[in-house]
Amino acid sequence: MIRFLLKGILRDRSRSLLPIIVVSLGVMITVFLQAYMDGVLGDSIEWTAQFTTGHVKVMTRAYQENMSQTPNDYALTDVDILQPQLEKDYPGLSWAPRIQFGGLLDVPDENGLTRAQGNVKGMGLELLNSSEEIERMHLNDYLSSGDFPKQAGEVLLSRELFNQMGLTLGDEVTLISSGMWGDMAMYNFKVCGTLQFGINSLDRGFMIADIEDLRLALNMENSASEILGFLKEGYYINKEAQNLSGSFNQKQTKTQDKFSLLMLPLSDMNGMQFFVAYAQQMQYLIVLVFVMAMSLVLWNAGLLGGLRRYGEFGLRLAIGENKHELYRSLMGEAVMIGLLGSIIGVAFGLLFSWLMQKYGLDIGDMLKDSTIMMPTVMRARITSTTYYIGFLPGILSTLIGAMLSGIGIYKRQTASLFKELEN
């Protein structure tokens, strides 16, 4: 029976081609849209993760309580033990120690006396030994002149600060800040490049240097403000992050101690809870609306496909097939068309999603004048959902379409159906 139907579909192009094309297109769009929505909403989350929160963040309790002030006197110590331990306990994540700090940047004149001073906020991350962090934060996209630090003591400054202080690449600047022990910290950096983020508060005074430099500068040997964990999947999975944090925090015994460790998932930081929930719900809502609409279109197509074949039905009834059988074979055909169309659609949908995931759509130009910090490249993201989301509207809608159009078989007399054969 299946073979018979399949043959019919494949041989009678007029019966199969157009519906399959329509189904494929619809499914492709659904698949692509799902991946795109997931990607775009996910990117905003990833952006926050990369810059500030990680997918999870390990810090001390006291640091967490005063997070808005980046209190390095509550920084994590013994990072050389802590980080390997985390790597061992949670192989599903990669861990990145960071130092957050604030201070004063001082530019000397030719006599070494202060020529200009400005406030800075900054971040120390692993820049010298691996390019992992540079890639993770897409820092390449923000580099506006010069290059990343190639050796110890080099620093990247935000462009506006750099201009305001009248600097040129290669100039020396001194960071004045307070160290982990409350001591005064002074450290010289050589400016090796500038960054432009497009967000006012950062562009006005931001610096990025290698974490080892900052450990030296801030007397934070073997320490870090925080250790960020990134899921190896490459994107935030709320449930996983929640579970990880829950199990980690359960293992901490001295929870009263202000230096005891705490792991927080991204959704519990920086008000991201809203965004994570929003992204999840929005995505389901949008896909749902879309699937409904898609079903309507395909139903329409199925209807047309069915209507065209009243003549054939008449003939088949005339030669002795009964109506139920005819209806069933029609359904079977619809399922097959739906399946075929869905397979093709999903394949193409995945292909486009993959392209969109790999290359993305750069809206940077459209946002040229804006001052916001957000990902300027819109990307899709293929998840497990992407693989099956298209089949639902693909098969269901063709089936419903065929069912509706097939009702005509029952409504009409065999004779009149047969008459339509003349068409």
């Binding site: 965004f275 929003y278 309507l296 197509a301 047309l304």
Partner: protein, 389 residues
């Protein structure tokens, strides 16, 4: 007109099929307007909120004031210029003095920005009335985000230390007289609001201000040492932020529209295939093929008209409901860095509605026309017999 009637008749004659197509198209029509309206509403609301809470009718900034430079805060206050005094006294301008201090919530130190404003002011939405009143503690108001940052609740006491204009250390207890919830982060984060005269006397900066907020009725004038920033300038950041967010949305409903157009294209193609005999007959009856082509294009385009009519049918009540009652988000967004309010009111401009209608009509006409081109290549006699190439 006759062509139009024929087209409409034949379209409606298709019954359910037509209505399905029309429905999908109407959904995309409604959706485009809804999404755009929502973003527009968000953008407007963000600006409206910024205007209501912070910008009002624009602001004079003391030349030395730079919100991003904490260095400037202590030295940017200037005497309110004489030219502005009448406006300031009549409530057309509200002076705000900005300074710095340190609070000690639970014995920890935290730097804060102090903003003094007249408790009687009517220009911005801040609940400044709470700032009035004498007592052993200075009544202050803070934003919800700041309250969370500093772990402060209403009626909590917290010690503030500051240095006055002479550099003398001063300290006093503050009482959190109120916590306001706002979508405008720039008046919330790290800031404490108190009565202007109080702050002026605390800082020994009588009659001084860092900025002056103007009422919308105020006519700005050029002044030495003071820069007037209008609403547009002050809200440009907010607008840009929302604009960027809407960029990602556009793709979504364009794809949706594509889907609807696909339905029309598909219907048209099949219709022309199924109705060859009709086409043949029409040509035989004396219509030119071009006319028939137009007839079919018109028939397809009528989908859009019907869709718009249908869309209006359920869209208008929906839009009216949404723009009066808003669309609420059940989650607390106070900490979120974006100017998002918990209830969003979509805004539908005439430009948006007319633009969407024209856009949908044109694109529907296009997809209707494309399959209809085939008609031109038909041989009427063969078409009449239902045979196509």
């Amino acid at each position: 007109m006759k062509l139009f009637k024929t087209a409409l008749k034949s379209l409606l004659g298709n019954g359910l099929k037509t209505w399905l197509t029309v429905f999908v198209l109407s959904v995309s029509f409604v959706l485009i307007i809804f999404m755009q309206g929502l973003l527009e509403g968000w953008s407007r609301q963000a600006v409206i909120d910024a205007v209501a809470w912070e910008i009002a009718g624009g602001q004079y900034w003391s030349e030395a004031y730079d919100p991003y430079d904490p260095f400037s805060l202590d030295s940017c206050a200037r005497d309110i210029p004489d030219q502005l005094m009448p406006a300031a006294e009549s409530g057309l301008l509200e002076a705000v003095l900005i300074s710095q201090g340190t609070i000690y919530p639970q014995g920890r130190m935290q730097g804060v920005i102090l903003k003094g404003i007249d408790p009687e002011q009517q220009i911005v939405k801040l609940p400044t009335r709470l700032l009035a009143g004498e007592g052993p503690e200075i009544p202050v108001i803070i934003g919800a985000h700041m309250a969370k940052q500093a772990h402060l609740k209403e009626n909590d006491l917290v010690t503030l230390r500051w240095r006055d204009a002479n550099g003398t250390f001063e300290a006093a207890d503050l009482r959190i007289a109120g916590i306001f919830v706002t979508t405008v982060p720039t008046i919330d984060n790290g800031q404490i609001w108190l009565a202007l005269d109080k702050l002026q006397s605390m800082m020994l900066r009588e009659n001084q201000a860092s900025i002056l907020i103007a009422s919308p009725d105020y006519e700005a004038q050029q002044l030495e040492g003071w820069l007037f920033k209008d609403v547009e300038e002050l809200s440009s950041n907010t607008i840009a932020m929302v604009k960027a967010k809407s960029m990602g949305m556009a793709i979504f409903y364009l794809i949706f529209l594509l889907l609807a157009l696909l339905a029309i294209f598909d219907t048209q193609t099949l219709a022309i295939f199924r109705r060859q005999r009709e086409i043949g007959t029409l040509v035989a009856l004396g219509m030119t093929r071009k006319q028939v082509q137009w007839l079919f294009t018109l028939e397809g385009s009528l989908n859009a008209l019907l869709a718009i009519a249908l869309g209006c049918l359920y869209g208008i009540p929906l839009f009216i409901y949404l723009s009066t009652n808003g669309l609420s988000f059940p989650i607390d967004v106070s900490e979120f860095g974006l100017p998002v309010s918990d209830v969003m009111y979509p805004y539908y401009s005439l430009k948006l509605i007319v633009g969407t209608i024209v856009f949908i009509l044109l694109s529907t006409a296009l997809v209707s026309y494309l399959p209809a081109r085939q008609i031109a290549r038909m041989n009427p006699t063969e078409a009449i017999r239902g045979k196509m190439h």
